[in-house]
């Protein structure tokens, strides 16, 4: 009788690729940048495009992060999320227009103060609207995806129409505060000041959000709740309350993103949120529904790709995001960073 083959557990190093696999999503962002560098003939235009891509990505992240968490935590899919973007933009821009003297003054302090007031007004308004939206629209349809999609869509239509009633059907043009106009030159590339500010703000928000999620008890509850809400309740935490908090915070973030996006585009319409939803969906899908990190990486990828392609082949820019989504879903059907679900 031959000896049975010995099964010795080996601790051999896994192959390089295996060890890289968990990091792949993070690496994709620099990879896209490098491919962009290779494909775009001039380095200075590459730099300009990269900054605007990152700025766009950061803003999309701010708008999308709330939606992905709301989904992760309570399995609620909010098709009306985009309306917070529009409302935030209209409230914020109205404040900025009212503070015309502060924004037109060539003083950075006054400009930033006006921006701060606009952002505060926008986030308060959208946070409050988010709270009402959760109560009236979302709460009665927990656990029923089909109804959620329909009802939140209905909510989007109604609030969008209310914007038109309050602000009129015309688009509103807005110029950026004086100190944020123009560009700085770096390594031969013109980098718009506003975009640099947007990148900074997005990064700061991402890090803050990460800190809250990783290092505070409420963050622990949220992360645990995404995986297994029932157990979080069995430990004694009122998940519903946490969820309402996340919904309100997510709506406020969307409102903030709306102000930033409005100033980026320098024009706002009632439809802008609905138009952004397409980008947001792509980002949360490729990131992995419920994952904040995935959402961040996805947003940066979409922003960069959009800008590179728009430069190289303007007509293809529209479908580049769809192409990216298809490619990612073929690679990881649940998105780049799939969220563990206990159920």
């Amino acid at each position: 009788m031959s000896a049975a083959p010995k099964h010795v557990p080996t601790m051999a190093q896994a192959g390089l690729l295996d060890r890289l696999a968990p990091w792949m999503p993070v690496l994709l962002v620099p990879i896209i940048m490098l491919v962009g560098l290779a494909a775009i003939p001039s380095t200075s235009s590459w730099l300009t495009l990269t900054v605007s891509g990152l700025a766009m990505g950061m803003m999309i992240f701010i708008m999308a992060s709330g939606m992905t968490l709301v989904f992760g935590l309570m399995d609620v899919i909010n098709f009306g999320h985009g309306v917070f973007i529009s409302v935030g933009a209209f409230v914020g821009v109205s404040v900025l227009l009212a503070l015309g003297q502060m924004t037109a003054a060539p003083s950075l302090v006054l400009n930033l103060l006006a921006m701060l007031l606009a952002v505060i007004a926008a986030t308060i308004a959208t946070g409050a609207l988010g709270w009402a939206f959760e109560r009236v629209i979302v709460k009665p349809v927990y656990g029923a995806h089909l109804k959620q999609i329909l009802v939140t869509m209905g909510g989007l239509i109604v609030v969008e129409q209310l914007i038109v009633v309050l602000w009129g059907p015309e688009e509103i043009y807005i110029t950026r505060p004086e100190a944020l106009k123009g560009a700085v030159t770096f390594a031969g590339a013109a980098l718009e000041k506003y975009r640099l500010v947007a990148v900074g703000m997005g990064l700061a928000l991402f890090l803050a959000m990460r800190y809250v999620l990783r290092s505070t008890k409420i963050g622990l509850i949220v992360r645990a709740g995404v995986e297994n809400g029932e157990m979080v309740e069995a430990l004694g935490y009122r998940l519903r309350l946490v969820f309402v908090g996340v919904f309100v915070a997510g709506s406020a973030l969307a409102g903030l993103g709306g102000v930033m996006w409005g100033l980026y585009q320098e024009v706002i319409t009632a439809h802008m949120g609905q138009q952004m939803m397409i980008m947001i969906f792509i980002v949360v899908i490729i990131g992995g529904l419920g994952s904040v990190e995935g959402c961040f990486i996805g947003a940066l990828m979409v922003g960069l790709l959009q800008n590179y392609i728009a430069f190289l082949e303007p007509k293809a820019a529209l479908i580049s995001n769809i192409g990216l989504m298809v490619a990612i879903l073929m690679w990881r059907p649940q998105g780049m960073i799939p969220v563990v679900k206990a159920k």
Partner: protein
């Protein structure tokens, strides 16, 4: 015979039956009952939207998945006919080629989207269809060389279907011309496809779809391949939406992004399905008829109401005919909460 034609799926309510018969008669004899360009045009739009909404109900109401690409499929059918008529010799050949290729392309697109999204989670389908449909809508308005861009396409359909073609004089005061024939192409096309849909939802295939909608885990456990059935439903629904689009293109002799691809139409379809009644083919008939009539005539009423309260602040704005979408939105939310089975469900309950 009638029962067989309806695949044994009767309205099951006296009032509903009466309304349906009335709608059928009105549509069948519309050119004679309501002569006039505008009213015949409204009737044709009702026929087409009944079909479009019914095909949407196949995925939404019967399969329980939400698609936001239904206007895209509708548009594919419409542009299929438009492109075929623009590039091929004038005649019925172009219509047939355009119609068939539109349906095939739409089914294929639905298949691909379903392949990517439905195997993960059914809600992916909603998001991905929304993303794809809006990308396509923008693409169509950008590729002006092929699609005519924002302006859309005007093209010639066979002469037999235009007002220029006359056969005989008048019947009951109505001119017998190609436009009349065109109307009946639309009417019978829509009617036949509607009966086909009725057959599909009452076939074993349709019953499996409903079982999946009720409980997909159980259906999977019993041995049905849920993804295959859902994708199949999405493909059939897309093909029929494309056929409705082709009929629309034949009727209008014009296609453009606003008329066949816009998101507003998608919203309209959603409203029609929900208000009429999800998961009941007859809901599409009620919903579409009510909606199209309201769209054409209710707005005038709102104009009057808005004028009447002119002195009150804000109210005139809220009642302005441009705001009718807002009221529909509210109605929509209320009906999802309180009458998820819509008007048809209500009527059946009362009986």
């Amino acid at each position: 015979m009638l029962v067989k034609l309806l695949s044994g799926d009767l309205p099951r309510s006296k009032l509903l039956t009466a309304i349906l018969v009335a709608i059928l008669i009105c549509l069948a004899f519309a050119p004679f009952l309501f002569p006039g360009i505008r009213s015949v045009d409204t009737a044709a739009r009702i026929c087409i939207f009944i079909l479009l909404v019914a095909s949407y109900d196949l995925v939404l109401g019967y399969t329980g998945i939400v698609s936001f690409a239904h206007t895209m499929f509708f548009g594919i059918g419409a542009y299929g006919v438009a492109l075929a008529c623009s590039h091929m010799e004038r005649g019925f050949g172009a219509l047939i080629v355009g119609t068939l290729s539109g349906a095939v392309v739409a089914a294929l697109a639905a298949f691909l989207i379903g392949l990517f999204s439905l195997r993960v989670r059914a809600i992916f389908f909603a998001m991905i269809t929304l993303a794809v449909a809006s990308a396509v809508a923008v693409l169509v308005s950008q590729l002006s060389g092929l699609t005519g861009g924002e302006d859309g396409l005007n093209y010639k359909i066979p002469r037999e279907l235009t007002p220029a073609f006359k056969f005989g004089g008048e019947l009951l005061g109505v001119k017998l011309n190609g436009k009349l024939l065109n109307y009946y192409v639309v009417f019978f096309g829509a009617l036949m496809l509607f009966l086909l849909l009725l057959r599909i939802v009452n076939s074993p295939f349709g019953r499996v779809l409903q079982a999946i909608r009720e409980n997909d885990f159980r259906a999977e456990a019993v041995g049905y391949r849920v993804i295959a059935y859902r994708t199949g439903a999405a493909c059939i629904s897309a093909a029929i939406a494309a056929l409705a689009g082709s009929l629309y293109a034949i009727w209008l002799r014009y296609v453009g992004p606003d008329t066949v691809l816009s998101f507003e139409i998608m919203v309209d379809i959603l409203l029609m399905v929900v208000i009429g009644g999800m998961g009941t083919m007859y809901g599409a008939v009620i919903g579409a008829t009510l909606f199209v009539v309201a769209q054409n005539y209710l707005q005038e009423l709102m104009q009057v109401a808005s004028g009447a309260v002119e002195s009150v602040p804000l109210l005139p704005d809220l009642l302005s005919p441009d705001r009718w979408l807002m009221w529909l939105g509210i109605l929509f939310i209320l009906s999802v909460y309180f009458f998820p089975t819509g008007i048809v469900g209500r009527l059946r309950q009362d009986d």
